[in-house]
């Protein structure tokens, strides 16, 4: 009998995005609850190794589309494979990670398969034989229960919201090859190059995030004499603060975040912004340095497990959300904390 639960492995240049295995592992548990099997879709070129890993994380069956035309992710080519396979296999549910590619694939699959999509859910429950899900809306200011009444129920799972996947090298499963559905000359996009992201941990994958806000520029420092413009002085100061923040993030193996105020003031690129109009994150440890805690920032990080706030202003709203608070200057506290953490982690 066909498997009721399907999951999609998101990969880039042959490496699976870690969230893919969270989805496979969650799919395994759902399949067990429903007394069914799990089918996993692996799409790319030279990605056969991922099929075996998918089995270790819970797949009973892997459908492998391995073709040179699928080397670069191109939405139309990939979506065609997903729709064809799911159209043939008729799963009850089709799961994706909430990554850029996962979101696109889920949306396109909903169109092709005449169904709907539940995006970025943090919880999936089985009520009778109907799946229901919980998803944050308004950047997590509210939660919504959602149900997809058509099949397949297409769902994308928020990164780090589901159980940490555990591999079992002893599991076995089948690998079936499937074909690409578009020839190269039918594909309307061409990837002409990549520029790698700056080195470092990505915000949405990070277990630890250390963030800076406007407070990074709020310190008397000896500014180099050739910087005279007020805005440039402010940005230079902020960058000294972000160096300290980067040092702490490094010591903890984490990523650097920032408030919208810091990004809008030009202290740090937008890719670091945490909040409603930046990235929504939920690390195990979030350290906010010189961030007052505007509602749109809080919306982006309030689901972090442990929040630490360091701020000069004892009335800053961020303290209400913090497990631990330090009323003090980040320029004094962050370097001292970096040393203290290094001692404890290296020891």
């Amino acid at each position: 009998m066909a498997n009721k639960i399907w999951a999609f492995v998101d990969q880039f240049q042959g490496q699976a995005v870690p969230a893919s295995w969270e989805v496979v592992f969650a799919g395994r548990k759902l399949a067990d609850q429903m007394g069914s099997g799990l089918t996993v879709l692996v799409i790319g070129s030279g990605v056969e190794a991922l099929a075996q890993t998918a089995i270790e994380y819970g797949a009973d069956e892997v459908l492998l589309a391995d073709d040179p035309t699928l080397a670069d992710y191109r939405a139309d080519a990939y979506a065609g494979v997903v729709a064809k396979a799911a159209g043939d296999g008729q799963p009850d549910a089709l799961l994706f990670p909430t990554t850029t590619r996962g979101r696109e694939m889920a949306g396109m699959a909903a169109i092709d398969l005449n169904s709907g999509v539940l995006v970025d859910v943090t919880e999936i429950n089985l009520e009778g034989d109907q799946l229901t899900a919980i998803r944050p809306v308004y950047a997590g200011k509210l939660l919504s229960k959602v149900v997809c009444h058509a099949k397949p129920q297409i769902i994308t799972l928020r990164q780090r919201a589901f159980d940490k996947p555990e591999a079992d090298a002893g599991r076995s499963g089948t690998v079936t090859k499937i074909e690409a559905v578009m020839a190269e000359d039918e594909i309307k996009t061409k990837v002409v190059g990549y520029e790698k992201a700056e080195a470092g941990v990505s915000l949405t994958d990070a277990g630890v995030i250390v963030s800076g806000g406007r407070g990074t520029s709020n310190r008397d420092l000896d500014v180099p004499a050739d910087i005279t413009d007020d805005t440039e002085i402010e940005i230079w100061k902020a960058q000294q603060g972000f160096k300290l923040i980067g040092g702490l993030a490094n010591a903890l193996g984490g990523a650097v975040g920032a408030s919208r105020a810091a990004v809008d003031a030009g202290y740090i690129p937008y890719s670091h912004q945490v909040g409603q109009t930046g990235k929504v994150v939920s690390p195990d440890l979030y350290i906010a340095c010189g961030i007052s805690g505007a509602i749109q920032h809080l919306a982006g990080m309030r689901s972090s497990k442990v929040i630490v706030a360091i701020n000069k202003d004892p009335d800053a709203p961020i303290f209400k959300y913090a497990r631990f608070g330090v009323v003090g200057d980040l320029y004094d506290i962050v370097p001292a904390l970096t040393e203290a953490m290094k001692e404890r982690l290296d020891g």
Partner: protein
Amino acid sequence: MKIIVCVKQVPDSAATMSVEGGKVSWGDAPLVINPWDEYAVEAALRITEEHGGDVVALSLGDENAKEAIKHALAMGCAEAHLVNDPALAGSDSQAVARVLAAAVEKLGDADLVVFGKQAIDSDTGTTAAMVARLLGWPALTLVSAIDEVADDHIKVDRAMEEGRQKVEASLPAVLSIVKDYGEPRYPSFMGIRKASRAEVPELTSADLGIDPPEAVVSWPEVMEPPARDISNEIIEGGSPEEIAAKLADKIMEEKVL
């Protein structure tokens, strides 16, 4: 070049959201154009400023959507259309995409359809990909820069998790724009005056030649997130080193590293 930019009206990002009587409330916060859509309008305007043509704003909603449309017009869009049909209330994302795709076809001759990255109310971020799929056009989502626009193709940078992907696609195409693209302009005085006088034609599903698409996703319940059970603890000490040592011990005790 004809560019259609899709805009949505949402509660301001500074709004405190709550649930009252099972319904979402944003208190007395204003409704504004979805902040991401301002980047979409900006990108569309810059393309036509360089290559000629007009930008047409398109929205789906009720009377409330008019503020978003006015903002887009005030920024410089040449005209705007509102799909306003009570039969479309309760539409889910695929239904919205089906209506927008039909409206794009009805308006006709578009070279590009441009979206913001996502709407800050529902946070789904799938509409651009869905509309592209319905139209059979390439989807270029999360565009951070536009490198080249020609009669039959476009070259863009996409902000992916792994870095910037440079992609070339045939036209017509669907784009979604991210904040790295560049700051949206403020509406000019003349723009605001023009927008306040503009007629915004309204369309129903019948005008688009479609039956209202059926929603397949429902949201039976909206909740406020459970209050976090946090005991706040302020760490004090005589020196930064002393404070840091205490804080470091506390962090280690949480066993999250």
